[in-house]
């Protein structure tokens, strides 16, 4: 049973450099298998920096997160939090 969520991206550079790195790191910290994509596009592995940055997600875009596994909800919470935090408030 997978859970999913759609989130609007807040960081001004979208999913690039620092927010993308934080996002991928968080995805890999969870056991759940997480995929990410645009609402009507293909999903890619949330734990791959190349896959995540190649989505070209910009500020204000919606992204769809789909998680499958024991800590799926926790994983989605963590990833949604990164996507909705302005870049300068991300922990260094």
């Amino acid at each position: 049973m997978s859970t999913e969520r759609t989130v609007t991206v807040v960081p001004e550079d979208g999913l690039h450099a620092r927010p993308a790195a934080a996002f991928v790191e968080a995805a890999n910290e969870h056991d759940a298998d997480v995929e990410v994509g645009t609402p009507d596009g293909d999903l890619v592995a949330a734990g791959s920096m190349i896959a995540v940055t190649s989505l070209g997600v910009a500020e204000g875009d919606d992204v769809r997160l789909v998680a499958d596994g024991d800590d799926a909800d926790a994983a989605l919470d963590a990833l949604a939090a990164i996507l909705t935090t302005p870049e300068d408030e991300l922990d260094a």
Binding site: H16, A17, R18, E25
Partner: protein, 564 residues
């Protein structure tokens, strides 16, 4: 080796010069030949794993060093690199290539190839990812081949690094205490390498082109970041001039002259990425925030919220200081594709600056003023707004009226706003002559010496044939500056200067003597200018300024400055 003097032109990244010996840097490492008897797959996989760990450890060290030297925001690029090193897509591709019989370094090279090509084909931010991937690939290949890449962090004293291009991680390795500068074949003023160079106050010239590739290792060169030139085999005089450039310590707090007159020393910012380096070099605030960069390299103008947020960020960077934002200044030599600027016979005497804001760009002007008035209420620091190329009182009155209208609109809409300080940029002779009229109507005047010198001397800034005439030290320009300062003070306006002249440490005493309250410059020279202000005595400076104004030639002005 030829010892003939040769000058290569590029784009200056930092207004500094350095002289030294060429060390060529080429990060590409040669791949090993394929072994005839095949590879030990398990051993190659282990080597790849070990290389990833080494790369991650290197990146952590470089991240720390960059955060310390350049800034936290710039260091973030290394977080991205760590994630690229550990990317499962890459790992799968590398292992598949090893299973196909490639040694680990060749497998790494192949695994990155498609992704690099894919990112290269995209525009803007995505093309930067291609650079990141190349950087990560070269790091892994170097580790796997025990590559003898030049260790940029351990260069000999006085080295000048030449490279086709330098990545952010390359540039952050350079120790400004030892390295004399760098020059690259590619890149522009806003490339990562150029921005890092400015943060590090390192002499640098970028975008020299293929001619750079012919400069041999061990050649003597002068990196002149001020003129945007790389001089091969410089003269003895040039070497001496570059060597005697000294840098002062950073003074983070506001300063005053030896006898106690407070002088604000602020930064000119033409790119958002220059805000942080300005803080780090001890700027009291921003004296010229050029909003043009928000409008360039895009298909349509930025909206109100985007401008609002960028300005608030600049204000938050100087909670105790002031940020002077110049409204959109296009026309002349500054084009913006979607603004449809007219072809003009004399663009510098044509429709530019406030003339466009009150004419064809009235809508953009209104949007910008809305963003500014909202930012004045939201940001930590104090906002000041100035209008460029104002020549008449009517233009100023019209601009001030627009501010009133926008304030009334925001009030009616119930939107939070505040009235910033308002000012005029003094760039035209007419503005200098009627500075008293302006001062009665605004809070401040800021002298743009580049354009003021151009118009007072009737000598175009970019025309080499009249370059000698385009000099703010001509008595004619000095008298215009002096008149502006006097008129400003009589009208209770503070008067600043935001042209190149303000950042020249040689003339700090003269500028204090002319009575300026604020000096704004490229962040790099802020420590030097602050140091000079602190040793200046205002009475002696006033004498110097009076003599310089009274001189009949530029030569006599220079003689007087050098005598003091």
């Amino acid at each position: 080796m030829s010892t003939e003097r040769q000058v290569l032109s590029g784009t200056g990244a930092t207004p500094r010069a350095g002289v030294g010996t060429v060390v060529w840097y080429d990060p590409e490492t040669e791949l090993p030949d394929l072994p005839a008897d095949g590879v030990d797959e398990a051993a190659e996989r282990e080597r790849f794993e070990a290389a990833r760990e080494t790369a991650e450890a290197e990146l952590e060290r470089e991240r720390e060093r960059t955060a310390e030297r350049v800034g936290e925001a710039e260091a973030a690029v290394f977080d991205a690199h760590v994630q690229f090193v550990n990317d499962p897509t890459i790992a799968d591709a590398v292992e598949a290539a090893i299973d196909d019989g490639l040694p680990a370094p060749n497998a790494v090279h192949e695994a990155f190839a498609d992704h690099i090509e894919q990112f290269e084909g995209m525009d803007g931010r995505m093309a930067e990812r291609a650079d990141d991937l190349r950087d990560v690939r070269d790091r892994l290949v170097r580790i796997l081949t025990d590559g003898d890449r030049v260790d940029l962090a351990a260069l000999p004293e006085g080295a000048v690094v030449l490279a086709e291009r330098l990545t952010p991680s390359d540039t952050a390795q350079l120790n400004p205490e030892r390295v004399a500068g760098f020059a690259t074949a590619t890149g522009g003023r806003t490339s990562h390498a150029a921005i890092f160079a400015r943060s590090l106050a390192l002499p640098a010239v970028v975008g020299v082109g293929d001619a750079l590739l012919d400069v041999p290792d061990d050649a003597d060169v002068l990196v002149d970041g001020d003129a945007g030139e790389l001089v091969v085999n410089p003269t003895d005089e040039e070497r001496e001039a570059a060597r005697t450039e000294e840098t002062a310590e950073v003074r983070p707090d506001p300063i005053s002259t030896a006898d106690g007159k407070a002088i604000e020393v602020a930064a000119n910012v033409g790119q958002h990425a220059e805000v942080e380096p300005a803080v780090e070099r001890g700027a009291d605030g921003i004296g010229l925030y050029r909003t043009e960069f928000l409008f360039l390299d895009r298909e349509s103008p930025p909206d109100e919220d985007e401008q609002f947020e960028t300005i608030v960020e600049a204000l938050d960077a100087f909670p105790e200081g002031r940020v002077v934002v110049r409204t959109l200044d296009v026309g002349g030599d500054k084009g913006v594709p979607y603004l449809d600027l007219p072809e003009e016979e004399n663009p510098f005497l044509g429709e530019r600056g406030i003339r466009r804001s009150l004419g064809p760009d009235a809508d953009l002007f209104e949007t910008q003023l809305r963003a500014l008035l909202r930012a004045a209420a939201a940001g930590d620091g104090d906002l000041a707004v100035m209008f460029p190329l104002v020549a008449t009182v009517e233009e100023l009155a019209a601009a001030l009226e627009r501010v009133d209208e926008v304030a009334a609109d925001l009030e009616a809409e119930g939107v939070d706003y505040a009235r910033p300080e308002l000012g005029v940029m003094i760039e035209t002779p007419s503005a200098a002559f009627v500075a008293d009229e302006f001062a009665e109507r605004v809070d401040f005047l800021s002298i743009g010496t580049n354009d003021l010198a151009q118009y007072v001397m009737a000598a175009a800034r970019e025309n080499d044939r009249v370059a000698d005439l385009h000099d703010p030290l001509h008595p004619g320009v000095l008298r215009a500056i002096h008149h502006t300062v006097q008129a400003g003070h009589e009208g209770d306006a503070w008067v600043g200067m935001c042209g190149e002249m303000a950042g020249d440490p040689e003339v700090t005493e003269l500028l204090v003597g002319l009575g300026l309250d604020e000096l704004s410059m490229s962040a790099v020279t802020i420590p030097d200018v602050k140091a000079n202000v602190e040793t200046t005595d205002t009475d002696a400076a006033a004498d110097l300024a009076a003599d310089a104004r009274a001189a009949d030639t530029r030569t006599k002005v220079l003689d007087r400055i050098h005598r003091s």
